[in-house]
Assembly symmetry: D2
Homo-oligomer: 356 residues x 4
């Protein structure tokens, strides 16, 4: 068996405990330290995950040479500084979503990781759920055909965040999933974001994001903190089949419908002829069995494997940048009352090797 990699978790707040638990449980990793400014909080977490060191100064932590990697679970505005320090100290880095609080800062993180030959991974947890892995697999093998539209809804009565709007709070989930399942990743050239702040909270609490994709297709994301009902659903329409993912239905999370519309493409001489050759398929529905596996365990394994194989992880820094780029454009569109704005292409930073 291979030697275990050694990791420290930075941040013992909301998400850190989940990371700590998974890095201490799997075969790939040995969790060696918890780092948090709040010693008591760090000690509480350390006690729950077994015998690990407690550190309050991140510089002390990064100076140790018995640590291969760090997982950063601190507020987004601190990601940039912490990641750069860790990369400078030769550590591989995983960062909770979003990658950073600004695209430029995220870019600097990606560039530094590339320059230092280290792995920078975005903690896009949903991408490691059995449901999303299955969706990616189905799209890759062509089961859906070409993608026609993606409609994602993520609404419920949610906590109104003090520092970010509903787009930055919830949409990273949808965007990182769409980025993960689309063969070329999420690379819209333009977008429009429409937000509403009907309570006067000072930020959007209801949000709609329109993302034109290649070939006339479109992705749409609805995020909402004010809905009394909870919906987490994604519909992915394809030329061959259409998939519905209902994450709140554990008995049938994924349904693949062999239903759709076929346009007779030979009809070129007019709208009416085209319509005349429309045909509808009303075939069976199929729901694949999904294994019961915790996503974070899969992500920890992928992080380890990417380090060992010296390759970019499936959700690498570039994926994090693509999500950031969309969020930044959304903020620009909101500032212009929903105008269509361009989305910067964050590609360019070279990774170790493309995993996609």
């Amino acid at each position: 068996m291979e030697t275990q990699l050694r990791i420290a978790v930075i941040g013992a707040g909301y998400w850190g405990p989940n990371l700590a638990r998974n890095f201490s449980a799997g075969p790939d990793w040995r969790l060696v330290a918890i780092c948090d400014l709040d010693r008591e909080r760090a000690e509480g977490l350390a006690a729950r995950v077994g015998n690990v060191d407690v550190v309050t100064d991140v510089d002390d932590l990064l100076a140790r040479d018995d640590i291969d990697a760090v997982a950063i679970a601190t507020p987004a505005r601190t990601h940039h500084a912490l990641a750069l320090k860790a990369l400078a100290a030769g550590k591989h880095v995983m960062v909770e979503k979003p990658l950073a609080d600004a695209g430029e800062r995220g870019r600097a993180m990606v560039d530094t990781a590339a320059a230092n030959g280290l792995v920078l991974m975005a903690d896009h947890t949903y991408c490691y759920t059995p449901a999303v892995l299955k969706i990616r697999e189905l799209i890759e093998e062509g089961a859906l055909g070409d993608i026609l539209f993606i409609d994602s809804t993520r609404i419920n009565l949610g906590l109104i965040q003090p520092d970010v709007d509903v787009f930055w709070d919830l949409a990273p989930h949808d965007l990182s999933i769409i980025d993960f399942i689309l063969p070329g990743g999420l690379r819209p050239q333009t977008l429009a974001a429409h937000g509403a702040d009907p309570l006067g909270a000072g930020k959007s609490c209801v949000g709609y994001l329109v993302l034109p994709l290649q070939g006339g297709a479109m992705a749409h994301v609805h995020v909402n903190w004010l809905s009394p009902t909870k919906i987490r659903q994604m519909v992915i329409g394809g030329t061959k089949r259409t998939l519905v993912w209902d994450d709140l239905n554990p008995q049938q999370r994924i349904s693949v419908y062999d239903r759709g519309v076929d346009l007779g493409l030979q009809a070129v001489d007019g709208v009416e002829r085209t319509a005349a050759t429309v045909s509808y398929r009303l075939g069976d529905t199929w729901s694949p069995a999904l294994p019961e596996r915790e996503a974070l365990g899969q992500m920890a394994a992928e992080f380890a494997e990417s380090i060992r194989d010296r390759r970019a992880p499936r959700t690498d820094g570039a994926a994090g940048l693509r999500v950031l780029s969309v969020l930044e454009a959304a903020t620009r569109s909101l500032a212009k009352d929903g105008a269509v704005v361009g989305v910067e292409d964050p590609a360019g930073a070279e990774q170790l090797a493309g995993a996609r």
Copy 2:
């Protein structure tokens, strides 16, 4: 008992038979004739609804003085000419949705009706369902508080229409309902429409409509011909309660959630203070019993009552114009790739008397 009003149905195609059946069944109306260019089709319908005359020439029909009103169920592009003729002949007029194929033409119809002292009614059928009537009543009596957002979804694998896009085909339902339940009607000043035509059908098959409302609220409509699952749902969020209407759940169509977010308004000195005073209500859910009544029967009764009382019907020509105005703006926004565009205020035409 009052004398029955006498009506003729023009158009014996898809919708005409429903109108004919309801006008022949209720106590208010006597159906006297069916008019269609296709005599055989008109005769077939006439036979099914009892002893009524069959007419193929609309001028012959309108020349009769034993007819008080006509119900027009022909293609939208013919509404304008037929309605003007009927109004000129002194008949009250009901028109299938949409009121006309262009706002200007709809305006002419409304103006003519007003000038002639006749009723012009839009056949916004959904507004007479028990569910929508109950929603309007709940909003009127303040059960929801101020409206914060309206999110309407109307999707399923639908027929791709030869002459109109998915907005003109499906959104009139959502728009007429929103117009009906909002105390001041639907009067957005701007909107954005985003459409996708991923199959190359020559028109939008997937559509999103964003309608900013007063006070920072927002309405959003999602219409889609390509969805394998059928959803007809409207969420109406208010400051007091939130209502979910699921039209495909006959056992619980309307749910009123006593859940929501309360912002402490006294916190004026900064975002963080505001967030600190957010509170969440997680109260009971309530589902009102709804009577089983056919909407078209209710609409026929309202048409009769408005004629007798010499008042505008609940869904009058002005309501039809407001819907048209939004659809036309949507078309302009689509032409500009989703840019935010102004919506013309169609108000101005004087009606008999405001029913709202």
Copy 3:
């Protein structure tokens, strides 16, 4: 094309109109008369289905020689006398469920039909729905393996019938379906029926029927007039797969689960060894597309075909007898407070030829 068969419907009350409509619509039949003691009711129905004769005396009707068959939709207590008269007059007969109000009387009907070489068909309408036809097909081709259990639920706030209990009112549906889909038909040797009359209505309003099947399998039927929620669901467990039919879910009526338990049969030396070799399958779910077809139309076609082919129809008199036999045993069990009682085997009457 073959000559149409000529039929009369006897009984213009609740169910007769449905029969009349379907016999007048299809290619196989010509509806020639409606017979009802209440002339006005018969005339009303005759007008709605086109030009057919109205007859009030059943003897007059049966004396006509332009009638090949009759469909009887009168109260159950009259089935026996009417059917015997019709068979004596040489007419083929279809009878609304239940076949008769007593097993002995049903037997006489079956015997007379056999003796006269005429078709006697039970109107087990559900057996001609696309869902039940598909279930039968799946069981026949072995997709479920051997049947382990059938659990059927048919509950909602229903009309308390004046003359029959909840078993005789609702269970004929479940029983006729189970009879139809089981390869050998429904032939339990014993049963127990448990009924509750908590309102003091003088008859069971809540009922449970336990039907041991061959090989240790069991069928169970729950019928209930007092439930505020409506459930129409049947679970059919098999050694290979299990099927769930939810008749109130038009979007996914039938789900076939590739899930189940496999017992290692080689473990013969003790309970614990057996348990040790239990294995569980957690495979995919599959929902076949079902055509949209009205069941009564299919039933009318089968009636015509069985007459032309001189064979027993799929739901023949013998099927009706098997259902009656179970209902009678249920009544005996109820009289003994739920004791297990024997079920008489109604087989024996020879039909034209076995269709099964």
Copy 4:
């Protein structure tokens, strides 16, 4: 604040960890020891819940005088001996369901506890969920009226247990809940149990339990290890309202329907008159908000309170006996192929004081 009571958990297998976690978390209890024959398993659990002693010999444990109570989470066949020992040592006792593996043994436990003035509590966990507590409250305050029927379904693809059938495995949940919510507890005089073993597992894998209640009402329980779909639903019909508890719908666990049937009681002279005065209510549906609270925490609090107040706990030994009595009668009925059998009334043992 009151001094904490001190408790030890006996049994560190499947259920013990849940008990240990809750007794170590709440304010009422101090968890002082884990006792298990398997030292390693006990140590593993002790480490996860903080600094508690590990004991492998139960006699050593019971000899300690720093322990007020024990919670027994060992196989059912060991409950009797362990509880008697603990009671003899002066400890209060909580026992995992079922109370014992035989009614007589359970009775001895109850009698001994009463004789020694100690609390004996049955771990009927479901009775402390917010849903069941709310149901009990609604019935107590008369919101449902008199109970007409209870229909409980608890089915899914479950583990086939090596030592018990599906009744003893699953039905204790339903029975303890019904016992808890019925004002007088569950005291049927007779019952019938129908089981099926279609796989040849040597025990029932599908089971139905019929329990006539007072006044013509009936309870029915369906338990099933072979169902591919998971259902946990209880319908409780009352003269005023009917309640549906769907434990798998976290968004609306409890629905109270103001629907039902009212029989005109003045109609005394015959069945037909009675039926003629049936009326149906179709009122609103109401779903109470339920707090999010872990049931085991509530149960631990009740155990402490009953000890301090020297009263019987809500789910006392007598409740455990009533459940046992039904299970034993079910086994007798099964041995007679579903015959109706008498249920022994386990009442008689005096408790400290009736909490009900």
